[in-house]
């Protein structure tokens, strides 16, 4: 579904992605793990068009998308729940969700999807008319994911959904991610919390300083000595 081939991304002169290649197949949960500064978020931002690769290609269903602006990539069915949630803090929960469907014009479909999202996250229904900024961390994460789902994406990019959350909440969120996937949404999941990410993913890529260093089925990556040592505390 999505293929990155030798993608190089720079921040001015800083070479952030040094030839990243990966692929995501329809229906999969693929996780991208690695330590701070490895280039995970940069990879997501490059896919969603917020950063432009200097070399390499990104294909969605075989068609190149690397030279499209971010708003058009969204319309093609890639949606992102950004790192740090970045919800619209001053808009209500409902307005946040509606904003997620900005690219769409089918009112009936939007209403249907809103109901679906609220079913997925019952907590959001209770907070529907509250400002986004007054939500707790977990609720904000749910809202960010809900907002991303409102564009009815084919591919959902999740950036660090576990960040700053209590272990119990992390488990809840990941259960929901699995539910979303079972409903037919392909997911590319970036995580620092390698253990949880690997436990729900089908396949995994490990990044280090801007390059993929290990790839394979999640179960294999989970047991690889390299990963155990680096990310899972031996």
């Amino acid at each position: 579904m999505l293929v990155l081939d030798q993608v190089h991304t720079y921040y001015d002169r800083i070479h952030a992605l040094k030839g990243v290649s990966l692929s995501v197949e329809r229906g999969e949960i693929v996780t991208l793990i690695g330590s701070n500064g490895a280039g995970k978020t940069t990879t997501l931002r490059t896919i969603s068009g917020l950063l432009k690769p200097r070399a390499g290609s990104i294909l969605l269903e075989g068609a190149p998308i690397d030279d499209l602006p971010a708003h058009e990539i969204t319309r093609l069915g890639i949606s992102q729940s950004p790192e740090g949630r970045r919800i619209f803090a001053r808009l209500t929960v409902e307005e946040n969700l509606e904003m997620g469907a900005f690219a769409r014009t089918d009112k009936a479909g939007i209403r249907q999807d809103k109901a679906r999202v609220l079913e997925l996250f019952p907590r959001l229904r209770e907070r529907l008319h509250q400002r986004g900024g007054t939500l707790s961390g977990g609720e904000q994460q749910m809202l960010a994911m809900g907002r991303a789902l409102m564009s009815r994406p084919r591919l959902l990019l999740l950036d660090e959904p576990s960040m700053g959350l209590a272990p119990l909440l992390v488990e809840q969120i990941f259960q929901i991610i699995r539910n979303i996937n079972e409903q037919g949404v392909t997911i590319l999941l970036v995580e620092q919390n390698a253990h949880v990410a690997l436990s729900i993913a089908h396949r995994a890529y490990v990044m280090e300083t801007g390059a993929i260093v290990l790839a394979g089925p999640a179960a294999d990556v989970l047991t690889s000595p390299q990963v155990r040592e680096a990310y899972l505390g031996g």
């Binding site: 800083i14 917020l50 949630r85 900005f102 400002r131 007054t134």
Partner: protein, 579 residues
């Protein structure tokens, strides 16, 4: 409970008495002369208001209930009244007995304020405050106490928006603009002497209050039929204003509404799209100059030479005022796009600085391109608007045109606010990256904000040029931008009625205050500072903005873990993203 109300009233009364004593000792009543009584009573009512509301917090305000509050207010007023009356009577008795307390007073009053104000405290002692005997003084201050309590209640219902349930108060709000309108008309009828020499100012003030209160009335009305009927009635009433006001009053109103047009345009850029534009005057100037070129080509040496060489006569207006409208608006809109392109990637402070520069560049261009613009000597004989041969250049017709222009722009802004583009602006204002990721085309959305804002400024500029008939680069300084921005902020960012109110307060009030010229700027600055403290969201904010500045809605179950939000959006991604 009752005892506590009385105790609190006594305490507040004592505080008010202390303040009044000070004011009497520094000789304020004597200085104020004939208006001493109403001014001091009003001042005392304001003191009571502040004291009675009990702190700035919302809860303190909500805890007040009408009956105990009125009791406290009345007690405070009565106490301060009795004390003040006793003080004045005491002074009078001493004076009658031939005791000169002047030297002692001079020692009590700090910094010898009495001497500074050039006041004889003796005159005060004879009972000039508030005049008319002790019963009158006590009664007036008691009334001030009750008024203070009423102000607290009014504020509470305003803040809690209990208008719909607030019965009497709501109807009062709805009726007020009509009362004020009737007052304006009555003041203008022959034989009325109220206000003396200041009758014109009083009328202007009442007219402005009528427009302002109409906005509040509309908000107080229930949505739907009630609001529509009220709007229609208000429109009919306000449409009568230009025909009853005199030349000077109409000319002030004209300027106020030209600034309403400007404010509505800037409100789109700053309020809706969140782009801080400090060079907004540029589009106003472009509108004015383009209309000047079109209507008085002979005034510009280079332009008239060009026309003559093309065989077009340059000694008469090229097009009429009406045909010029789309041209000037388009020119200004083009200016907006031209400014927009280079600043597409800028946010926050950087954007403000660049736009500030743009405004100045346009002014300096007009100043220095002497061949084209006549430089500082300006373009003269710009044509006023004509309709079927009638000259519409007089203050009354300009006011009407400004009203119409503001109405059209307000309608456009209202429609934009609820549109898809409006939502894109909100998303962009909140977080550019996320907006883009939800499908907002940033380039298009930003340029449209600048362009649409500029269109409206261009229209305002054209009307301004037609009103002045002579325009100079000095009409288009940075201060026009600053004034416009201030009125948007004071009125309530993002709020359309707020802009009207802001223009009345910032462009209208200074004209009214001209009478007390020396204190004009001081009073004005004080008003602004107070407003920013007690009502940072503006006088008549949009619902969303009010939510932003005053936390409302149910409390979150746990404190929000917000990772970056303390900073305004603009600063959040200055680096263009994180590594």
């Amino acid at each position: 409970m009752r005892l506590r109300s009385v105790q609190r009233g006594l305490r507040i009364g004592a505080i008010a008495f202390a303040i009044l004593t000070y004011l009497i000792l520094i000789g304020l009543p004597t200085r104020l002369g004939s208006v001493a009584t109403p001014v001091l009573a009003l001042l005392t009512a304001l003191i009571f208001w502040v004291a009675l509301r009990g702190g700035k917090s919302k809860r303190a305000l909500a805890d007040q209930s009408p009956a105990p509050l009125a009791l406290t207010g009345a007690t405070a007023g009565l106490a301060s009244g009795l004390l003040t009356a006793a003080l004045i009577a005491g002074f009078a008795r001493l004076l009658a007995a031939g005791v000169n307390v002047q030297p002692y007073l001079d020692k009590i009053v700090p910094l010898n304020m009495a001497a500074l104000y050039g006041v004889m405290p003796g005159a005060v002692m004879a009972g000039e405050l508030p005049g008319g005997g002790w019963l009158w003084q006590v009664g007036l201050l008691t009334l001030a106490g009750v008024v203070g309590a009423l102000l607290v209640l009014l504020e509470r219902s305003l803040r809690q928006r209990t208008w719909s349930t607030g019965g009497a108060l709501r109807w009062l709000t709805i009726v007020l603009p009509f009362v004020l309108l009737a007052f304006v008309i009555w003041l203008g009828s022959p034989g009325v002497t109220l206000g003396g020499n200041n009758r014109g100012t009083l009328r202007l003030l009442a007219a402005m209050a009528a427009i302002g209160s109409a906005l509040f009335a509309l908000r107080a009305a229930q949505r739907g039929r009630e609001q529509r009927i009220l709007a229609l009635l208000l429109l009919i009433g306000l449409a009568y204003l230009p025909f009853t006001l005199d030349q000077f009053q109409n000319s002030v109103m004209g300027i106020v509404f030209i600034f309403v047009m400007m404010g509505l345009g800037l409100n789109i850029v700053v309020g809706f799209a969140g782009l801080l534009d400090l060079g907004y005057v540029a589009f106003f100037a472009i509108g004015a100059y383009v209309y000047a070129f079109l209507s008085a080509p002979f005034a510009s040496p280079a332009f008239s030479a060009l026309l003559t060489s093309l065989g077009v006569p340059a000694d008469a207006p090229l097009v009429s005022f009406w045909v010029a409208i789309p041209i000037t608006m388009l020119a200004a809109g083009l200016g907006g796009v031209l400014l927009g392109i280079p600043v597409l990637r800028l946010r926050g402070d950087y954007l403000a600085i660049v736009t500030l520069g743009f405004g100045e560049i346009i002014r300096l261009f007009m100043l220095n391109m002497s061949d084209l613009t006549n430089g500082p000597r300006g373009l003269l004989n710009v044509a006023p608007p004509y309709l079927f041969g009638y000259n519409l250049g007089n203050p009354r017709d300009i006011f009407i045109l400004a009203l119409l222009g503001a109405g059209v722009i307000a309608f456009a802004a209202y429609r934009l606010d609820g549109s898809r583009l409006g939502r894109a602006w909100i998303a962009m204002r909140e977080d550019e990256d996320v907006a883009q990721a939800t499908g907002v085309n940033l380039v298009q959305t930003k340029l449209l904000a600048f362009a649409i804002g500029a269109l409206f400024a261009g229209l305002a500029g054209q009307l301004y040029a037609a009103r002045q008939t002579n325009i100079f680069p000095d009409n288009f300084t940075l201060f026009v931008s600053v004034d416009t921005l201030s009125l948007v902020i004071v009125g309530g960012m993002g709020s359309i009625p707020g802009v009207v109110l802001g223009a009345l307060a910032l462009k209208g009030l200074p004209e009214v205050l001209r009478g007390i010229d020396e204190y004009r700027i001081v009073t004005f600055a004080a008003l602004l500072v107070i407003m920013m403290i007690v009502r940072p969201e503006g006088i008549l904010p949009s619902t969303r903005r009010r939510r932003e500045l005053h936390e409302e809605g149910g409390p979150a179950s746990e404190p929000a873990i917000t990772l970056e939000p303390a900073l305004p959006t603009d600063y959040r991604t200055l680096d263009g993203g994180k590594l």
